[in-house]
């Protein structure tokens, strides 16, 4: 099971990380490594595009919370793009819609 992770640096100061596939305890470490790598490269405004994600569990949520914490400690931010109801529901149940800014498209996320 592969997790797609594509980085788009063309929308400075934002870095867009497009995630594709299923995010669970098996694949989440790759997402964590990628976020750590981007932060260590000085990319502190990260938009995580979840439009290609078919499944996300609490391990994936934990990685995103960890990424947000890491970025905030650098005065940065991690925002999300997500319109799929089954993914949004996980954020709603856990109350994390109040922690993350969630947008309907990458264009909206980088316009903030």
């Amino acid at each position: 099971m592969e997790l797609g992770l594509e980085v788009d640096d063309s929308r400075r100061p934002y870095t867009v990380l497009a995630v594709k596939g299923e995010v669970d305890v098996y694949t989440a470490p790759r997402l964590r490594e990628k976020l750590v790598e981007l932060v260590s490269q000085g990319k502190h405004q990260i938009v995580v595009d979840l439009e290609g994600v078919d499944f996300l569990d609490s391990t994936g949520l934990g990685v995103l919370v960890g990424g947000l914490k890491r970025l905030r400690s650098h005065d940065g931010d991690l925002t999300l793009v997500c319109t799929h109801q089954r993914i949004l529901k996980v954020f709603e149940i856990t109350g994390l819609t109040k922690v993350f800014s969630i947008f309907g498209s990458v264009d909206q996320a980088v316009a903030e």
């Binding site: 099971m1 305890v25 609490s58 934990g62 947000l68 914490k69 109350g95």
Partner: protein
């Protein structure tokens, strides 16, 4: 319909097998029960959370022990049980993350699995056994008109010796 076993599955205590368990449970739920897609997605997520916990529990004390999955059905429900051989835990004494409004919330990356399970299925029971923990998750929904093919047993526990997926 009396409560009947539909499927048993043993998988190695390794994270790459959780996707298979999700797929099997979702396929059985869709094929045999009149459940909306959204409910099947909820069950799939709850099963993933329970499997993640079971694998972590096994790895502490019995890393070679499989995670045992059973799917049961009755007239009005589908039940999925996920059983590990770990040390067990008290679900009522878990540490939950601080409220969302608390800045400390960002220090908690874990602890969301059990609350998710409880929210996503119609009933969740955490049963402590001498041999480990069994999580029983129930969703209510009548049967589809499919034929009864009898119980199926799948043993994937020896797959751990194979190359990764």
């Amino acid at each position: 319909m009396q409560r009947a076993l539909v499927l048993e599955l043993d998988v190695p205590s390794s994270p790459e097998y959780i996707a298979i368990v999700r797929l099997v449970v979702a396929s059985v739920a869709s094929a045999r029960r009149a459940l909306a897609d959204e409910r099947v997605d909820d069950l799939k997520l709850a099963v993933s959370e329970a499997c993640t916990n079971a694998i972590e529990a096994n790895r502490v004390v019995h890393p070679d022990a499989p995670v045992h999955v059973e799917i049961w059905e009755a007239t009005d429900r589908l039940e999925v049980t996920i059983e590990d051989s770990g040390l067990g835990f008290d679900p009522d004494k878990l540490e939950f993350p601080p409220p969302i409004t608390d800045p400390e919330r960002l220090n908690f990356e874990r602890g969301l699995g059990i609350p998710l399970i409880r929210t996503l299925v119609d009933n969740a029971a955490f049963i402590r056994k001498d041999t480990g923990t069994c999580v029983r998750m129930t969703v209510f929904g009548g049967p589809t008109d499919g034929d009864d093919t009898g119980a199926i047993y799948m043993d994937m526990s020896s797959f751990a010796d194979l190359p990764p997926l």
